[in-house]
């Protein structure tokens, strides 16, 4: 979406990602989404009097891995307390890194060749979660709230970009590339819908080469779609405000996905005084070169490199193939594609089945071996399975694993006999004389029409290529 006149937007993103550790940041409670409320809590993450935090080594190493992937400088760092009262924060302060973060500087290169600078990527702890009861179930108008501290103390890394982003599409691309990196480092599962990756956007507008305008921070962006819509809305809001003679106030704004608009949450004057000071219960973190080296050595190749490797196996990649490559790399599915290509599968087919069918079942991937995936594709390529049948087999593989050929047999996916295909085609030619006439006159598009009809009639059992063969034989 373009902005009116010569207006330009200036966007920086703050991405919070939960780390995929076994335990919380400062205690041994399980870091596990979806448990019964208040079952993963202990004196430390409940902030009970007398309890003390002890730092999780895995959280530190995942933070370092993120820093390495973002070309940051890993530095000696400290923890501070950010003091404010809120019922989902059991100590009424958050332990976070402040002036000395573990990762300083860095950058992220996007697929379009642009580069976004990284200011910092620091460690901090998550809060608990409140549910609002009465009224609408939202925070406003509720009459009471219930708090679950299972999430309290889950380790987070907050990644702050420079104000380098100039469009909502670029913001989206940054967020999805970052997510791919978080998945690739093993730091996060990148699931925005479960809140394990949350984004705040700082948005301002300006005329070309003018100094930065006053920015607003937008909270609650929990999907890539929200991110893009909210940034566009906010930039336009600010432009309209300025053009009608107003000025932008520095404030925190809330994105409402249903309304499709941002609204004031807190003005600058209402901002908290956090009274940051060094957390006296934790000591300095000084990652030695040797320690950093170990983390670096354990890291596999990052998405940019993996993307290039995959693209190098495509002879002259189409737009569709490149889009599928993005999905496959972001979700870390390329080993399936490589295996299928090695087995002789068609590149477009392998990319499409990975980017669609496998991508829809990420939770169940462990059921699908590389061999099973490749075999299914080869069965489809040879015409033994139709496209629809092949997708069904992949669905079954995700659900319960197994051997594709036996699954096909047990589902009754026998190849249609050529006689019954021939009689079905003959029947359909009779029923659709006009279309048949046009096909005979050389309109090849009509072949697709007949394939569709045959598929309908045979509930997807036919093979499209065989239908075309039959049509040509009768022309």
């Amino acid at each position: 979406m373009g902005l009116p006149g010569d207006w330009e937007m200036v966007v920086g993103l703050e991405v919070h990602t939960e780390l995929k550790t076994a335990t919380k940041m400062f205690c041994g409670c399980a870091n596990h989404f979806g448990a019964q409320p208040n079952t993963n809590v202990c004196p430390v993450c409940l902030g009970l009097p007398g309890s003390l935090p002890v730092l999780n080594v895995r959280a530190v190493e995942l933070a370092m891995a993120i820093g390495i992937a973002l070309h940051s400088t890993i530095a000696a760092s400290t923890f501070h307390r950010k003091n404010y009262f809120y019922p989902d924060m059991p100590k009424d302060f958050q332990i976070s890194q402040y002036d000395l973060p573990i990762n300083k500087g860095g950058y992220l290169d996007l697929p379009d060749g642009s580069r976004v600078s990284i200011e910092r990527a620091h460690l901090e702890e998550d809060t608990g979660k409140s549910t609002h009861l009465g009224g609408t179930g939202r925070i406003h108008g509720a009459d009471r709230s219930l708090v679950d501290y299972n999430r309290s103390g889950v380790p987070l890394v907050e990644i702050v970009s420079g104000p380098d982003i100039r469009s909502s599409a670029q913001a989206r691309s940054y967020a999805s590339s970052l997510r791919a990196i978080l998945i690739a480092t093993g730091a996060s599962d990148g699931r925005m819908e479960e809140g394990s990756m949350r984004i705040d956007a700082n948005v301002s507008v300006r005329k070309p080469n003018a100094p930065f305008g006053t920015r607003c921070e937008i909270k609650n962006l929990n999907s890539l779609r929200s991110l893009q819509r909210a940034i566009d809305f906010e930039a336009l809001r600010q432009i309209e405000l300025i053009e009608s003679g107003g000025t932008v106030r520095q404030e925190t704004r809330h994105w409402d996905e249903n309304v499709g608009a941002t609204s004031t949450m807190r003005t600058k004057e209402e901002a908290e005084d956090y009274r940051y000071f060094r957390e006296p219960d934790l000591v300095e973190l000084v990652p030695s070169d040797e320690w950093q080296g170990r983390v670096r050595d354990a890291l596999g190749p990052m998405p940019a490199e993996r993307r290039l490797l995959l693209i190098s196996r495509l002879s002259s990649p189409s737009e569709t193939q490149l889009d599928a490559v993005e999905v496959v790399i972001d979700l870390g599915l390329e080993d399936y594609v490589h295996a299928a290509l090695d087995a002789g599968a068609d590149a477009s087919l392998a990319l499409a089945r990975a980017a669609n069918e496998l991508a829809a079942g990420l939770d169940l991937l462990s059921n699908v071996t590389f061999t099973a995936f490749s075999s299914t594709l080869l069965l489809e390529q040879s015409g033994t399975l139709s496209a629809t049948q092949s997708k069904t087999v992949l669905g079954e593989l995700l659900k319960s694993g197994g051997d594709p050929a036996s699954i096909a047999t047990s589902l009754g996916f026998e190849q249609m006999s050529s006689e019954s295909l021939a009689s079905t085609v003959a029947l359909l030619i009779d029923e659709n004389p006009d279309e048949w006439e046009r096909f005979r006159d050389g309109d090849e598009k009509l072949a697709q029409f007949f394939i569709g009809q045959v598929m309908k009639q045979t509930k997807g059992q036919a093979n499209g290529k065989d239908v075309i063969k039959e049509l040509h034989a009768r022309r």
């Binding site: 009097p49 007398g50 059991p90 005084d273 006296p280 219960d281």
Partner: protein
């Protein structure tokens, strides 16, 4: 009352039982607790169970821990699973922690018998144990006077012969000052020597748990049992507990001891005289006394009354009525937090929370908190400098003997000044102890303070033992 050392010996030999010793302790508590207000809670049942398990182990011929059968009092800012823990505050009234402090676990493993929880200044903020929501504790040696604070209840428990041992916590002098005022040994160990896990925080970078006892050996036995690395406390020193009792008679021959002018100036004349006599007693046993001045000590009080309240303002934020303790209901959560905290905290706690909040707030951080952190650095250098020339330092623990109840409550600054000699050690993170030496007006005890660098406890105990012998104990 028998010493802890004696009780352990007798329990092990079968001359007495842990249960019989506990009976004596409970009798002594019953005799004077109402008058002195020492214990806020007596865990008779739990204590009996622990004593019986020690006796059973001995009956089975098993080895028992180094404190087998010794009754002990715990300051009520130490968490003990299932036992009411209040910090002498309304805000925690009725709270039973679902876990125990590391020191409590170590005491139980050592065979000690925790008898109950003792009174303190609310959240350990005070120097007289008058700032308790549950009434002041009286000095067993003169019930019209304070026992000192904030660990006044623990000091009084030992001074009144209720238990031979007690644990307190020392943030700016809260063990040494009451020890001096009650005629006891009180030790502020090196920061990190004793785990703070389960000690309800006042000022995290200054707090340390330490022992009260009537004699040096008992104090050393107790410290050995609770010291040493704990993985639950990130600031815990990495090494195991030091060997203290074995070195108790090492003496002071050949040691250089600095008599610090700044730790006697301004003290009452009888206190000054005690310190000078202590110096002579140490010299008589072969120590060289060097007179010196550490002017930085005078800045200690200022730095302390910024740093400790700043940390406290954050540590005490969690008492908000949401998860445990007091809740005063209100229409919304913010109003509930305010109503709860306003009703739950006493004046001294409110004063320090506000002071600390102010010192950390935007615009004032650099002038107060930031500057105090730098003064802390100066203090550490000043100590380090002194320890290049001498092994230990000597001075007064408090400016005067125990003062009368009520005499300083309306003047916070006057009360704060009673910690003027003890605060520098906490800022440096070093070790220090107070040992009784002589008496002053009304025959009340005087404490002299021995100070040493971090991890110098063995030397401090040996020097304290020299003074103990000089006093004929």
């Amino acid at each position: 009352m028998k010493s802890a050392e004696q009780i352990v010996r007798d329990v092990r030999s079968g001359a007495t039982t842990a249960s019989a010793e506990l009976d004596d302790a409970l009798l002594a508590v019953k005799a004077r607790n109402e008058e002195l207000n020492v214990f806020l809670y007596v865990d008779e049942e739990g204590a009996r169970r622990q004593a019986e398990s020690v006796d059973a182990a001995i009956a089975r011929g098993e080895s028992v821990g180094p404190l087998a059968g010794v009754p002990i009092a715990l300051k009520d800012n130490l968490c003990q699973r299932g036992i009411p823990t209040t910090c002498s505050s309304r805000i925690l009234e009725g709270w039973r922690p679902p876990y125990s402090a590391t020191v409590v676990d170590r005491l139980l493993a050592a065979g000690a018998v925790p008898v109950g929880k003792t009174n303190l200044d609310e959240f350990a903020m005070g120097s007289s144990t008058e700032n308790s929501a549950f009434g002041p504790t009286r000095n067993p040696l003169d019930p019209t006077r304070v026992p000192g604070g904030s660990s006044g209840g623990s000091a009084a428990a030992v001074a009144a012969d209720m238990t031979p041992l007690a644990l307190g916590s020392d943030t700016g002098g809260s063990i040494r000052q009451p020890a001096a005022l009650c005629g006891l040994i009180g030790v502020k160990p090196t920061y990190g020597l004793v785990s703070r896990y389960g000690l309800i925080a006042f000022a995290s970078s200054l707090d340390q748990i330490g022992p009260f006892a009537k004699n040096v050996t008992d104090a050393a036995m107790l410290l050995e049992a609770i010291a040493g690395h704990d993985e639950m406390d990130s600031t815990s020193l990495p090494e195991p507990a030091p060997s203290l009792v074995a070195h108790i008679n090492d003496g002071v021959a050949g040691k250089r001891i600095g008599l610090v002018r700044d730790l006697v100036d301004g003290a009452d004349e009888d206190v000054v005289q005690s310190v000078l006599r202590a110096a002579e007693a140490l010299a008589a046993e072969g120590a060289t006394i060097v007179e010196l001045s550490i002017p930085e000590f005078r800045l200690g009080l200022s730095a302390y009354y910024i740093l400790a309240p700043a940390e406290a303002s954050s540590n005490l934020a969690r008492y908000d009525g949401v998860r445990y303790g007091l809740r005063v209901n209100a229409d919304d959560v913010t109003a509930m937090n305010e109503a709860t905290r306003t009703a739950g905290f006493g004046d001294e706690v409110k004063r320090r929370i506000m002071l600390g909040t102010y010192a950390l707030s935007a615009g004032y951080y650099d002038a107060y908190y930031g500057q105090a952190l730098k003064v802390r650095t100066m203090m550490i250098s000043a100590f380090a400098n002194a320890y290049r020339d001498v092994d230990l330092l000597l001075g007064a623990t408090t400016p005067s003997v125990a003062f009368e109840l009520g005499s300083k409550v309306s003047d916070p600054m006057a009360m704060y000044l009673s910690d003027i000699f003890t605060i520098p050690t906490n800022l440096a993170g070093d070790a220090a102890l107070s040992v009784p030496f002589g008496t002053g007006e009304h025959d009340l005890p005087i404490g002299v303070q021995l100070l040493g660098p971090g991890r110098s406890e063995a030397k401090l105990f040996a020097a304290a033992r020299v003074l103990e012998i000089a006093e004929g104990r």
